[in-house]
């Protein structure tokens, strides 16, 4: 009994098996690798304003502006099972309102074909650094760190934190000038 249907079925089943095995091998060969890279991050020109904000309970919130320099080489991270990186800058701090505050200030998608070495100077954040209240003024311990999400062709989606993080004290007076 080797009619056309049997043959087609066997061929399809075998193809699927081979593709599943190759995908699994691709995943297993990369899952135990170390994906951490060192970064060089500096944050400067921090200014804090107080603005009206509808998304907080007090309707008033602290807005911080800043700029940063970032130097990082992602060459080591890319292997055959990395489709893209999602790189993001996080500001992390605690406050009277909240035990944990995390705000993403900037992000960038790095694909295989892109330049994977970053040397960014005087970058302004993409997103507002807006607190959930008025806790940024005089804050002594806001931590800035680069993290990235390694997106594979197939397999585990890994979140990696770069090795160094910096902590910067914030200004003690509000800025009233319009310019950042």
């Amino acid at each position: 009994m080797h009619n056309i249907l049997n043959r087609a079925n066997a061929l399809l089943a075998f193809t699927l098996w081979v593709m599943a095995a190759v995908t699994a091998a691709c995943f297993l060969s990369t899952v135990f690798l170390d994906y951490t890279v060192p970064t060089k991050l500096t944050v400067k020109d921090i200014k804090v304003r107080t603005i009206a904000d509808y998304a907080t309970d007090e309707q008033q919130a602290d807005l911080a502006t800043l700029s940063f320099n970032l130097n990082v080489d992602f060459t080591k991270v890319f292997n055959w099972n990395v489709k893209q990186l999602f790189v993001y800058l996080v500001a992390e701090y605690n406050s009277d309102n909240n035990a944990v505050n995390q705000v993403v200030l900037w992000d960038r998608i790095v694909e295989r074909a892109n330049r994977v070495v970053m040397d960014e100077v005087n970058v302004k954040p993409k997103y507002y650094f807006l607190d959930d209240g008025s806790n940024l003024l005089k804050h002594q311990n806001v931590t800035f760190v680069i993290r990235y999400n390694v997106i594979p062709n197939a397999g585990y989606l890994r979140l990696v934190q770069s090795t160094d993080q910096i902590s910067v004290p914030f200004p003690t007076t509000y800025t009233t000038s319009r310019r950042s």
């Binding site: 995908t23 509808y54 998304a55 489709k83 893209q84 999602f86 993001y88 996080v90 309102n97 909240n98 035990a99 944990v100 505050n101 995390q102 705000v103 993403v104 992000d107 998608i109 694909e111 997103y127 959930d132 993290r147 999400n149 997106i151 594979p152 062709n153 197939a154 397999g155 585990y156 989606l157 979140l159």
Partner: protein, 183 residues
């Protein structure tokens, strides 16, 4: 099984005795119940009501394309943090959304303000939330993406786009399992 019409398709089953026929039916039930057990087992292990979702939109491109299959977990011990790709449900929307967390304000594990955004979208998700909703809470999040299998979900998308094909495939598979004799 002499009552079945004399068609080539029924040849194998016409040769069976009653015992073999029962065996075929049990075999069919076995396939169905194994699939159900795998699904329910995954729900228990991952803690998520829907441990597997198919990406339907391009809002997370180039990370996820339409038709990619995502594996989710929903561990309540492990708090939601920025960078996590969450799957969340919004009141009044049938289909859950897969987007990345960009802001977390956590008072306690159960009292957390979460804001999300699609990597490929220009603005955050406040426009997608229910009217007047400014933040997600932990209970809106049904899972977090931990694994990715490309293209596998294409089958589901095609089946949903052409419902007739779905019934045709199901009928064909069902008949094949019932009528085909195991050697």
């Amino acid at each position: 099984m002499k009552f079945l019409p004399d068609i080539a398709m029924f040849n194998e089953i016409r040769q069976m005795n009653i015992r073999q026929l029962f065996y075929q039916c049990l075999n069919f039930a076995m396939v169905v119940s194994s699939a159900l057990m795998i699904w329910k087992g995954m729900m228990v292990i991952t803690g998520s009501d829907s441990p597997v979702v198919v990406v339907l939109s391009g809002s997370m491109e180039p990370a996820f394309y339409r038709g990619d299959l995502l594996l989710l977990t929903n561990d309540h011990e492990d708090p939601v943090r920025v960078g996590d790709i969450t799957v969340f449900k919004v009141e009044g929307r049938e289909i859950p959304i897969v987007h990345r967390v960009i802001k977390v304000h956590e008072k306690s594990a159960d009292n957390t303000k979460i804001l999300t955004k699609g990597d490929n979208n220009q603005v955050d998700d406040r426009g997608l939330y229910a009217p007047g909703q400014l933040w997600l809470s932990r209970s809106d999040v049904v899972g977090r993406t931990k694994g990715l299998l490309p293209y596998v979900g294409m089958v589901t998308i095609i089946m949903n786009d052409y419902p007739k094909l779905k019934y045709a495939v199901l009928a064909f598979l069902g008949l094949f399992v019932l009528l085909h004799k195991e050697n």
